[in-house]
Subunit: 199 residues, 2 copies
């Protein structure tokens, strides 16, 4: 087994670093920054999309952070549910996170946390805050009576959704106490904290 | 086997109707419109997200059009590659389509095709046209020397990507002849045409 992950922890690659730490796999980490990956000819030869992360797993090249995590969970046999229906729910939650939550999350985070204060647009932050209410309510409901999205066990579904919205710990989640507790459970895992320490 | 699909063909449900026709499966079709699904209490009891489509497969409830298609392809054994690496590429392409292409596609289509002419914003159409160039170039490159995204065989990867951008047949694809030919091959399939005839 030879695993190489391209992508700095200050990018979507953090999600995959988290998964690699959960699985306790040895890997080579090339902490490419998102600002440089689209212009790096050596990297574009590996991933023509020019995005990070990219995983190379014994020569097999895979892009898209959440797809990489699904692949790692299945291939290395952890955080991957045994039942095919539960696996389909991992696909559902991963696609849902990207389609329904990630864009609004990024807009909120950019205009609340990431941009220099003078570059932040309060109207954009407010619009994103509003757009996040419905997916937050969906998570609040899905987690009623169960600690994790699939039930009793932490899985790639939780990791992929929480990994898309990790900065929401700094969002007002008062109306979503169950979701807030779940997000804390996810992000308090030692593997997540270890991943954030990587370059 | 009892399959029920909720969602009008004038919505993302078309992608799943296409898959159901490819697999030649019997199913009950409830052509719910997207305008009504978020307020329909009976429907919200099935899918609390209030989006269409939803599949109910022998009591198993699954949302997210592309996840439903991955599930159907695997469960019913067609358009699903045998190799695990190729399956991971189906996940990659499905997530890529949603993350990198669908939002810009919808903005382009809304301001070019769907909205009443007086409601269209040429600046938004132009911005979306610009944003689509990079993912179109990615598809153009991925299809060099092979008819389908995974190689020799049409798969759920092709169906899921093409299903996200079906209206691009009316986009200027002159710079992307390989991609344009692939999109036509996808949308000329009898199953796609049959799906578009459904309510």
């Amino acid at each position: 087994m030879a695993l190489t992950l391209y992508g700095s922890s200050y990018s979507r690659s953090l999600r995959v670093l988290w998964m690699l730490k959960e699985l306790d796999l040895p890997f080579e980490h090339i902490p490419l920054q998102w600002q440089e990956c689209g212009q790096n000819a050596d990297y574009l030869a590996i991933n023509p999309t020019g995005t990070i992360p990219t995983l190379v797993d014994d020569g097999f090249v895979l892009a898209e952070s959440l797809a990489i995590n699904l692949h790692l969970a299945r291939r290395y046999g952890r955080l991957w549910p045994a039942a095919e229906q539960d696996q389909a729910l991992c696909w559902q939650w991963s696609l849902w996170a990207v389609a329904s939550m990630e864009t609004s999350y990024i807009q909120w985070a950019a205009h609340t946390l990431w941009l220099a204060p003078e570059a932040r647009d309060p109207a954009k932050a407010a619009a994103a805050t509003e757009a996040l209410q419905r997916p937050l309510a969906r998570l609040e409901q899905a987690l009623q009576g169960q600690p994790w999205l699939l039930g009793h066990d932490f899985s790639v579904a939780d990791l992929n959704v929480a990994g898309c919205i990790n900065g929401l710990r700094r969002f007002d989640l008062t109306a979503y106490p169950t979701m807030a507790a779940w997000l804390n459970r996810c992000l308090d895992r030692p593997a997540y904290r270890a991943a954030t320490q990587l370059p």
